[in-house]
């Protein structure tokens, strides 16, 4: 999903799991509209839709393991949460460790989350998303704050994980070049509207110009 800032990428991602209600139209998952779901069904659905926000939203005061385990709260109650906080079950900790190792930060399992670097925190957020065993992973600008080399690695990792664990991946990106290079399907968004939905090879210069064109009327509005 590509588009200039303010295009509505984040809003669209957030409406996918129902944290932002859709202003028009609706979101349906396996034929069921989110807005029709009761609390219990919504909760079960959400637990299969992992979401990585741009600011990661880790709890900085907690150890990494508690943050990773938080990804699986959708399947448990308050007790699960308190256990994750105070004394994680051995099997859970081991699974968190394996996921962290998979994304390359296994050794940080028991560090305080705010002691980690930005790149490491991002990997923890990925592990948290994976811990719930998602069927869809929504990632909002996962590479907005990392250098280009790291950005490619992160996206490649997400794609690899999607293939390996069989979940669908929906990513919003600023960087069109990376998107064309790595992804099989592109959605172009601008000012809340879908401009195109196609494979990268089908993308012509006309669509690109429309996506990033400076719009005089828009600037006047801003003034």
């Amino acid at each position: 999903m590509v588009g200039p800032s303010g295009a509505g990428k984040t809003t669209l991602l957030r409406s996918c799991n129902g944290t932002v209600p859709a202003a028009a139209g609706g979101v349906a998952i396996n034929g069921r509209a989110l807005s029709d779901m009761g609390e219990r069904e919504l909760r079960r659905t959400r637990s299969e839709l992992a979401f990585i926000p741009q600011d990661l939203a880790l709890v900085p005061e907690l150890r990494v393991v508690a943050n990773v385990l938080a990804g699986g709260f959708g399947r448990g109650g308050l007790l699960t949460a308190l256990r994750a906080l105070l004394k994680p079950r051995r099997a859970d900790a081991q699974r968190a460790f394996e996921l962290l190792q998979r994304v390359g930060v296994g050794d940080q399992l028991y560090k305080r989350s705010d002691k980690l670097s930005g790149g490491e925190q991002q990997r923890v957020a990925v592990a948290r998303a994976l811990f719930g065993g998602p069927r869809v992973l929504l990632a909002d600008e996962p590479v907005a704050s990392v250098d280009p080399e790291r950005a490619r690695d992160t996206l490649a990792l997400l794609l690899e994980l999607a293939r390996e664990q069989g979940f669908a991946l929906l990513v919003s990106l600023h960087n069109l070049k990376l998107a064309r290079e790595l992804f099989g399907r592109l959605l172009g968004l601008r000012r809340g509207r879908l401009l195109f939905d196609c494979a990268p090879e089908q993308l012509g210069p006309g669509e690109l110009a429309a996506l990033y064109a400076l719009d005089p009327s828009e600037d006047e509005q801003r003034d």
Binding site: R63, V65, R90, A93, Q94, A96, F97, G106, D107, L109, Y110, K111, R112
Partner: protein, 312 residues
């Protein structure tokens, strides 16, 4: 490279200080309860319970006690209570209320004046030979400043000690010492509150000065501004925070001003003390409630003012 979560768990970083404090706190609590004489029987016992019954009975206004009962539906009964309260207010109540408020306001203003003046030389990044450039650590690297460094350090440390002493002694204790020597006027009460709170505001102000963003002050100091010029220039930037602290302290000044009267100064506290001395529990209760309402009003006003400062 650790290979299992369990190994990592055993090697997890744990803070010795945090655990030591937790154990010390637990031990202190156990020791206090075990060695202290805090039995519930101190609150019961036949004589005490009888006393308690009399006490709670006499909390009701005197006319109501004489009448033998209170009918909440009767306007005449309410009128009696109102007359009783109005008589208490006229008979010193409102004067005490006014002087309590005045003591609190004057004391907190004086405390702010003294504290926010003292906070500059009490800040480590100001009281050093290279002010606003990161404090003594940086100053230490500059050669040829031997005795000035020493002088600033002496000034800084002694001022901090004075501020610590001022706030370590509670308001009530300051007031006791000053009332006994200066006489039973509002002056010692005001001074007592001002001294204690100047100690607190001085410390908070010094922390604010030490934590301010260094760039603007550095630019000024580098351009040749003196210490006081730079301080005056950066002061407006610190003002919102200092005002927040002021209003928090003002709240506690109102609380304390009500009780300082128990030492004999005219405030709600003196009426409370007199009522207690005369076993007039209904009046005692009335003045305690009046004080509580005053504290609430003070908190409300402070919350409004803090909201104004935050939004400004």
């Amino acid at each position: 490279m650790k290979t299992s979560a369990e190994e990592l768990r055993r090697a997890r970083p744990r803070s010795r200080l945090l655990r030591a404090v937790a154990w010390a706190a637990a031990a202190l609590v156990l020791l206090s309860w075990a060695s202290g004489d805090f039995g519930l029987e101190q609150l019961s016992g036949e004589r005490r319970l009888a006393n308690l019954e009399r006490f709670t009975g006499e909390l009701r206004p005197w006319p109501v006690q004489q009448q033998g009962g209170f009918d909440a539906a009767s306007t005449a009964d309410w009128q009696t209570v109102y007359d009783w309260a109005a008589a208490l207010m006229a008979d010193g109540g409102s004067a005490a209320l006014a002087s309590t408020a005045a003591i609190a306001v004057l004391a907190s203003v004086l405390a702010a004046l003294a504290g926010y003046l003292a906070c500059w030389p009490a800040a480590r990044n100001v009281a050093c030979p290279a002010p606003f450039f990161g404090g003594p650590a940086v100053a230490a690297q500059r050669p040829g400043l031997g005795w000035t460094r020493w002088a600033w350090s002496v000034l800084n440390h002694s001022l901090r000690a004075v501020l610590l002493f001022a706030r370590a002694v509670p308001e009530y204790l300051w007031a006791f010492l000053l009332v006994e020597s200066l006489g039973y006027t509002a002056l010692p009460a005001v001074l007592a509150l001002a001294i204690h709170n100047a100690g607190i505001l001085g410390r908070l102000g010094a922390e604010t000065v030490e934590n301010m963003p260094p760039a603007p002050a550095r630019a000024l100091a580098a351009a040749g501004a003196t210490r006081s010029q730079t301080a005056a220039a950066v002061f407006p930037g610190l003002l919102p925070r200092l005002l927040l602290y002021f209003f928090y302290r003002w709240e506690t000044c109102v609380r304390e001003a009500t009780v300082l009267g128990m030492l004999g100064v005219l405030s709600l506290g003196s009426l409370i003390r007199d009522a207690r001395a005369g076993n007039l529990y209904d009046e005692l209760f009335f003045y305690v409630l009046l004080g509580a309402m005053m504290v609430l009003a003070g908190d409300l006003l402070s919350a409004l003012a803090r909201g104004l400062v935050r939004r400004a």
